[in-house]
């Protein structure tokens, strides 16, 4: 049996499409964890990245924190948090957010900091307030890079959200962990395929978001 046979068997079994352990249910759970983690990470990473990028200050401290956060293994962090505060959604969110903040923060900072200074200078010279300079001059030009930071964060979250299953929560990780435990490789391959599919969907969504939000003048097309 190769992995295509496993996948074929898994998706062909109608029992896998129903109930609390069915594909729609697990997919939805996975999506919920991912979206929540991404929202929280963006709520932290975007404002800090925009502000530091605009002022050009705090870049070194930022890089240090981001690198430190990157060095933390998500699974280890999960175990640690569970030991500290017990089971639940929160201990899953913490490692996911810690994972996602650095790429959002660092790319947003870099994206805004490297915007061509002359339009910013012109804007300031015409009496534009700083907030307006940030949101109407810098962000529109920095948007492709900012989106790419969000995209890599989203992809990492989608693949890492499988750890939720370790702390008895749902999501696509259930198939992988339960499958490994039960030596049910159909399940393992099926779960992994679904995670890969969700990652792909994420990529497509970000591509579409770029198409609709980035000005043709910036895309140069």
């Amino acid at each position: 049996m190769n992995i295509f046979d496993f996948a074929h068997a898994f998706f062909g079994d109608s029992a896998n499409w129903q109930g609390y352990d069915g594909i729609p249910q697990r997919f939805l759970e996975h999506l919920q964890y991912s979206l929540l983690a991404l929202a929280v990470a963006a709520a932290i990473g975007l404002p800090v990245g925009l502000l530091t990028g605009h002022t050009g200050r705090g870049g070194n401290a930022l890089a240090f924190i981001a690198n430190a956060a990157r060095a933390l293994p998500s699974f280890g962090l999960l175990v640690l948090v569970v030991l500290l505060i017990g089971f639940g959604l929160l201990p899953v969110m913490i490692p996911l957010v810690v994972l996602a903040v650095p790429p959002i923060l660092v790319t947003t900072y870099e994206a805004v900091r490297t915007v061509d200074p002359s339009p910013v200078d012109a804007a300031r010279g015409m009496g534009m307030p700083e907030s307006r300079i940030l949101f109407q001059v810098e962000v529109p030009v920095a948007l492709p890079l900012i989106l790419s930071g969000l995209r890599s964060a989203a992809i990492q979250i989608v693949s890492t959200a499988t750890i939720a299953a370790y702390v008895s929560l749902g999501g696509l990780g259930r198939y992988i962990i339960d499958g490994l435990y039960q030596r049910d490789y159909e399940k393992v391959v099926g779960g992994a395929t679904l995670v890969a599919f969700l990652a792909l969907v994420t990529l497509v969504l970000f591509w579409a978001a770029g198409r609709f939000t980035v000005s043709p003048g910036v895309r140069r097309r």
Binding site: A123, G127, P140, G217, V218
Partner: protein
């Protein structure tokens, strides 16, 4: 009027960018700041809209300290144009130009109409309205930059080397356009450049700065060229300042002669009577045809194709002495041809006569400057 009163700018790293500079910038005219790289031109300009705060001294706008009003209000009363235009990449040409009106709360429609009006004013085809900056040439981008600065009709326009990144032909076009716009709008323009030719061409007054941000000379361009204050200014003006100074001298008083000018049907007597090495033959309506030695002319059979070319004519009272001299230098006979608006010959003038006119003008000019100085001293004393 903008008054800069002994303003000094020392940057935090100790660089002395501007050193006790005082300037009076007259209303409704172009004042040019010129000088070598790093002499503090940009710093001076940016202190006027408070992009840079002076270390010492004050700047007055219409008598009031510019520190007294909110910085955004100040900046919105001054258009600002920079070297690479600094256009917003994500906005179309109209939306770039409409930026300040939109910021001031104008409706979208009204702001766009105003933008279209300005495109015409700065010589941009309105077909470019929906383009993005990357779809424009450097010269077009610069025009958009000027239009954007003029959009809310500010009384003051600050321009920092706006035309230095485009090729000489486009630059000349932009300069002419600026002079034309200025004629129509009468803004108070402060213009920074490191190009002395541009300074002389555009400036009503020219301030020459030297390294360390000190004022070397502040004078109208003609005076600058004829009377540089010191060796630094003289050196900065370049080797041909004498010739360039002629652009400011009028040809109105130039003495023309019609002696060597003959009609196509001139008689042998007329040809023989002329006391000149060359004669200028005109057509029936008095337009120049060309030069010839008298002995090569046969009365009644003057052949235009046998004549020497008369070169480029000048229009007295319109063209400067520099143009007249240029015409004489380029003429094969050493005589310049003066014509009226319709191109009919008004007379001819020799290099000798032009040379005399230059000498006279310089003498008069020198007396005028001396009078001016005496007057200044009285005011200062």
């Amino acid at each position: 009027m903008i008054r800069i009163e002994s303003v000094t700018k020392r940057y935090p790293d100790g660089t002395m960018a501007v050193d006790r500079l005082s300037l009076e910038i007259p209303d409704r005219s172009i004042t040019v700041l010129v000088g070598p790289s790093g002499c503090g031109k940009t710093t001076t300009l940016r202190m006027i809209n408070r992009m840079v705060e002076p270390t010492e001294g004050t700047i007055l706008l219409d008598g009031a300290d510019i520190q007294r009003q909110p910085v955004t209000t100040l900046r919105r009363s001054m258009g600002y144009v920079i070297q690479n235009a600094g256009l917003f990449q994500h906005r179309t040409v109209v939306d770039n130009i409409a930026t300040v009106p939109r910021m001031l709360g104008w409706g979208r429609q009204r702001a766009r109409e105003r933008a279209a009006e300005l495109m015409e004013r700065v010589g941009l085809d309105t077909a470019l309205a929906k383009r993005y900056p990357y779809q424009l040439s450097g010269g077009q981008q610069q025009r958009v930059g000027v239009a954007r600065a003029l959009a809310a009709d500010p009384p003051v326009l600050l321009m920092d080397e706006p035309f230095s990144a485009v090729d000489p032909v486009v630059r000349k076009g932009l300069q002419d356009e600026l002079l034309r716009i200025q004629e129509e709008l009468g803004k108070t323009i402060v213009f920074v450049t490191h190009d002395i030719d541009e300074a002389v061409k555009l400036g009503t007054m020219v301030a020459v700065l030297r390294e360390g941000g000190r004022l070397a000379q502040y004078a109208p361009p003609a005076e600058l060229l004829s009377d540089p204050a010191d060796a630094f200014v003289e050196d900065f003006l370049g080797a041909d300042r004498g010739i360039r100074g002629l652009s400011f001298l009028s040809t109105t008083a130039l003495e023309l002669t019609t002696d060597p000018v003959i009609p196509p049907d001139a008689t042998a007597e007329r040809i023989g009577a002329a006391d000149a090495a060359h004669l200028l033959v005109t057509d029936g309506e008095g337009r120049p045809l060309g030069w010839s030695e008298p002995r090569r002319l046969t009365a009644g059979d003057i052949r235009p194709d046998r004549l020497l070319p008369y070169g480029r004519p000048f229009v007295p009272g319109v063209d400067s002495l520099r143009v007249a001299l240029d015409c004489a230098v380029l003429s094969p006979t050493g005589w310049a041809v003066a014509v009226d608006d319709a191109g009919r010959v008004r007379g001819v003038v020799s290099q000798q006569t032009i040379g005399d006119a230059i000498r006279t003008a310089h003498q008069d000019g020198r007396t005028a400057h001396q009078d001016g100085r005496a007057g200044d001293e009285k005011v200062l004393g």
